[in-house]
Symmetry: C2
Subunit: 209 residues, 2 copies
DNA sequence: GTATGTGAAACCGTTCACAGCA
DNA sequence: TGCTGTGAACGGTTTCACATAC
C-alpha cells in the first residue's frame, strides 16, 4: 500500500469492482482486462488500473487480472475478510428488511442485536434476533462486541441513538435517517439518504424538461 | 441560470443545503450567512456561495440569506415545486416502508401505484395504495402519469422490472437493488446501494485498525 | 463594518500515452 | 504482441482573496 492519500472516491469504485468481479466469477470467467471490467462498470480502464495501483500490483501484463484473485484482494483491501458484528436500532419495515437479508448480501456482516423504543416490538423474534429495549443497548453492544451500529428509525431520535452507540463504543455508524449526525471525529459515519437521491433525480428530470 | 456546466456534485450539495435550511426554518431562524450554513453542513463557505452562484444571486451583501426564501429557491431549482408521481415495484419490508412514509418525507412525492410479482401480496392495501400485479404495470403507469419508477425487489428481476418501466415510459428510476441497470441514456437512474456504503465503512474502520 | 459574488490560484482527480513486462 | 503500471498532461473542483453592495 502506498503512502499517498487514497481518494475516498477510489475506494467507492473499489466496491463497484468487487460487485462486478463477483458476478464475473459466478459466470465462470477466469480472466478480465481493465478494459473489460471498465466496460461493465462504466468507467475508464486507466481509472481501474490507477485505483488498484493505490494498493498494489494485481495484474499480469499482456494478460489482465485473474477474476477470483482480484475479487479476493479487493475484499481484503476493504476489510471484508473478517466478520463484522452489527447492531440495529429500529425494527420497523426497513429494519426488518435489513435483519432478514443482511446475511444474504454478504457473508461478512452479521447482526448480533436489535433494539426498539416501541414496547410493543420488544421481545419480537426477527430472523435469529430477539428485539431488546434501547435501555439495554450499551450492555449488549459491549457484551456482543458490536463494531457497527445501524440506525433505521425516524429522524426524531436519530441523534440520541447515535450518542448511545458512541457511548457504547461502536466504531462506525450506518445512518438511514436524513439527519446529519454530530459525532466524535474518530467515529465513522456513512449516510444512506435516499430522499436526497430522489431530489437529485428530480433535478435531472426537470433539466431535460 | 448560467450556461456553464453545473457539476453534479454541486447539485448534490444543494440537496444538503435544502435539508438544513428547512431545519433552520423550523427553528425560527430568519437569516443565515454562508459561513453559518457552511458550519452546519460541514462544507466551506465559499463553496456554498459558488454552488448558489451557478443558479443566480440569492443573498444580500453584508447580511446573508433569508432562510425561507433560499429554501424555496433551492426547491425550485431542484424541481420540487411540483408533485412527482411515483410507482413502486416490490412491496416487501423496504417497499412498505417507502409507501408509508413517502408523503411524510416531502410533499413533492406521491406514490400512485405499487406492483408485486408475488400473488399473495396482490390486492393488499398499503397506505392509500392497492398492490397490483406487475402485468398491469404498463397500463397503470400510463394511466396514472407515473414519472418515476422505484425498484425495491431482490436483485434477480431488477433488470426486467427496469425494462418494464422503460417500456411504460417513466423518465427516471430510483434503484434500491445492488444491480447496475442497463437503461437507455435518456432515462435517469439513481442508485441507493447501502451494501456499498457498508463496505466503505468497513474500509475506513480497517484503515484505523 | 459585514457578508455576498466571483475571478484567480491552488488543489485534486482523471485521462493520456508509453515504458515495462509477460 | 498485448495489457499492466505509472509519470505527465489535462480538466475540473475547491479555496482564496478581494471588489462590490448593503
Amino acid at each position: 500500500m502506498k503512502s499517498v492519500n487514497i481518494p475516498a472516491i477510489a475506494v467507492q469504485r473499489l466496491t463497484l469492482y468487487a460487485r462486478n468481479l463477483a458476478l464475473l466469477d459466478q459466470k465462470g470467467m477466469e480472466v478480465v482486462s481493465s478494459a473489460g471490467l471498465a466496460d461493465i462498470c462504466g468507467v475508464n480502464p486507466a481509472q481501474i488500473r490507477k485505483d488498484l495501483g493505490y494498493f498494489g500490483q494485481f495484474g499480469i501484463r499482456g494478460v489482465g487480472y485473474y477474476v477470483k484473485e482480484l475479487a479476493y484482494e479487493i475484499r481484503k483491501i476493504l476489510g471484508l475478510e473478517k466478520e463484522w458484528r452489527l447492531a440495529l436500532v429500529g425494527v420497523g419495515n426497513l429494519g426488518s428488511a435489513l435483519l432478514r437479508h443482511a446475511q444474504f448480501l454478504d457473508q461478512s456482516y452479521t447482526f448480533v442485536a436489535a433494539f426498539e423504543r416501541d414496547p410493543k416490538r420488544i421481545g419480537m423474534q426477527v430472523g435469529q434476533i430477539t428485539v431488546a429495549p434501547v435501555k439495554a443497548l450499551k450492555r449488549l453492544v459491549k457484551d456482543k462486541g458490536v463494531e457497527i451500529g445501524v440506525i433505521a428509525i425516524g429522524p426524531r431520535w436519530a441523534q440520541q441513538v447515535a450518542d448511545e452507540f458512541v457511548g457504547a463504543g461502536v466504531r462506525g455508524i450506518l445512518n438511514f435517517t436524513p439527519v446529519q449526525l454530530r459525532c466524535p471525529s474518530d467515529l465513522h459515519v456513512e449516510n444512506v439518504d435516499f430522499t436526497r437521491m430522489l431530489d437529485m433525480l428530480c433535478y435531472r428530470l426537470t433539466l431535460n424538461q
